[in-house]
Amino acid sequence: MRTKFVLVVAGLALLLARPLVAHHSFAAEFDANKPFKMTGTVTKVEWMNPHTYFYIDVKDDKSGKVDNWAMEMGSPNGLMRAGWTRNTMKVGDMVTVEGSLAKDGSHTGNARAVVMTTTGQRLFAASSQGQAN
């Protein structure tokens, strides 16, 4: 029941909180019409400006092939306002990422929200002053 409520609230928040990629041209790099949702294991975290990147190994259910994906988030200032710390995500963590795929077809995504599998904690990954206030 509680979970359901949280999901609804998170969903609403997501609708209201369109990602803001204030730093560079989102549209030149990513395609808002190519949404994705994928789950994988974190292999690296770069907690840096102007964008934090993390990398996840994602296994294709059908082929069993594992690909490493780069995920772009906001900068540490924006992420901290959205509830992150530099230790929120660690190498080895299982996460589910929602966002938009890169236009160039590379294994790159712009993360909009991240759910930490073990805790169920859902965090927005947008940059700028984000969705914190």
């Binding site: 560079h24 041209s25 808002a32 840096m48 964008h51 900068s75």
Partner: protein, 342 residues
């Protein structure tokens, strides 16, 4: 050099427009959606920064001047909104959005209500209409062509994406918080911006004029002198360089730009920002843009250093598929062209 670049851009932009009328039509709706909300909702209607609760009176300094910053003992920052397209923020002499823009916003809202895709989540992307979609902007032909070019490639070459600072009103349209610190005894005002490459600006309130001739060195932020007119802070800015865009959408400007900004704080939680943009190098007459900036009573500035790990720079390619910011090449070597045709 600049004019060569301009003509080159104009030619390519014209070619794009001629070959892509469909793009213009298709993009129009997206552009309107992007800037669909009217000024008071800027940066607030998306679920952040909205200040609910009682309307608190405008704070004032001891001498009665409007306080544009914090009240002693309290926190607070201005939650600068993300104004991606100032072309949709143009106001008339009454301070209201132009009727044409209101109409376009209403049409976009109606289209959304009818089930059209709401925004898409690009945060500044989406389809774009170019100069034709903003007939109220007094573009000179080259400026329209450059704007169309920036629209067509979805702001790929936005200088802010290279971590260069915004010039002029875009300081108040880059969505990182800012503070206004009045130093009346020193006759100056300092504005600090968390985003926009962690920049500050100084406004001289001592009545000095702008430097003239070569003493006026063109800079990103220009030279700002200010004065209080009643409860309005009026800031006059000249001396811009040409390395910035007016906004994310890529309205160009030249070093002839003269900006007159008006800051008011009608209540504690609202900063109203208005900027008259007069650039005879790019536009045929002045126009004025305006929006509200909400107060975040619990906020404080944090660090943001854009230049740390800007991978966008390294990934960026020009129109010919060449890296725009490649490492320096050995003299005498021929750059290797990337495979495929672009």
């Amino acid at each position: 050099m600049k004019s060569q670049l301009r003509s080159a851009l104009a030619v390519s932009a014209a070619a794009l427009v001629f070959s892509g009328t469909a793009w213009v039509l298709q993009a129009q709706q997206g552009a309107i959606q992007q800037e669909g909300s009217i000024a008071p909702e800027a940066g607030q209607g998306r679920g952040r920064g909205r200040n609910s609760g009682p309307v608190l009176p405008t704070p004032r300094l001891a001498d009665g001047t409007v306080n544009f910053g914090r009240v002693p003992g309290e926190k607070g920052i201005w939650n600068v909104p993300y104004i991606t397209n100032m072309g949709m923020r143009v106001v008339g002499s009454d301070g209201q959005l132009l009727p044409e823009i209101q109409k376009a916003n209403q049409a976009a809202a109606a289209a959304r209500g009818a089930g059209a895709r709401a925004g898409g989540g690009g945060g500044g992307g989406g389809g774009r209409g170019g100069a034709k979609s903003e007939p109220w902007i007094p573009f000179q032909p080259w400026a329209a062509a450059v704007y169309d070019y920036n629209s067509q490639n979805e702001s790929k070459y936005d200088p802010e994406g290279y971590c260069l600072p915004p010039g002029g009103p875009r300081l108040m349209a880059t969505p990182y918080p800012a503070e206004i610190i009045q130093l009346p005894e020193q006759k100056r005002i300092v504005m600090t911006f968390e985003g926009a490459t962690h920049i500050w600006r100084e406004i001289y309130m001592d009545g000095r004029p702008h430097p003239t001739g070569d003493a006026l060195n063109p800079t990103y932020l220009g030279h700002s002198v200010g004065r209080m007119e009643g409860d309005t802070l009026v800031v006059d800015v000249v001396g811009f360089n040409e390395n910035s865009w007016l906004d994310y959408f890529g309205h160009p400007h030249t070093d002839k730009m003269h900006v007159v900004e008006k800051f008011t704080r009608p209540n504690k939680n609202t900063l109203h920002y208005e900027a008259q943009i007069d650039d005879p190098g790019a536009y045929t007459k002045p126009f004025t843009v305006a929006w509200d900036i909400p107060w975040n009573a619990n906020g404080e500035l944090t660090e943001y250093i854009c230049q740390e790990n800007n991978r966008y720079l390294l990934r960026l390619e020009d129109d010919f598929g060449q890296p725009l910011f490649a490492p320096l090449r050995q003299p005498g070597t021929v750059p290797t062209r990337k495979g495929g045709t672009k």
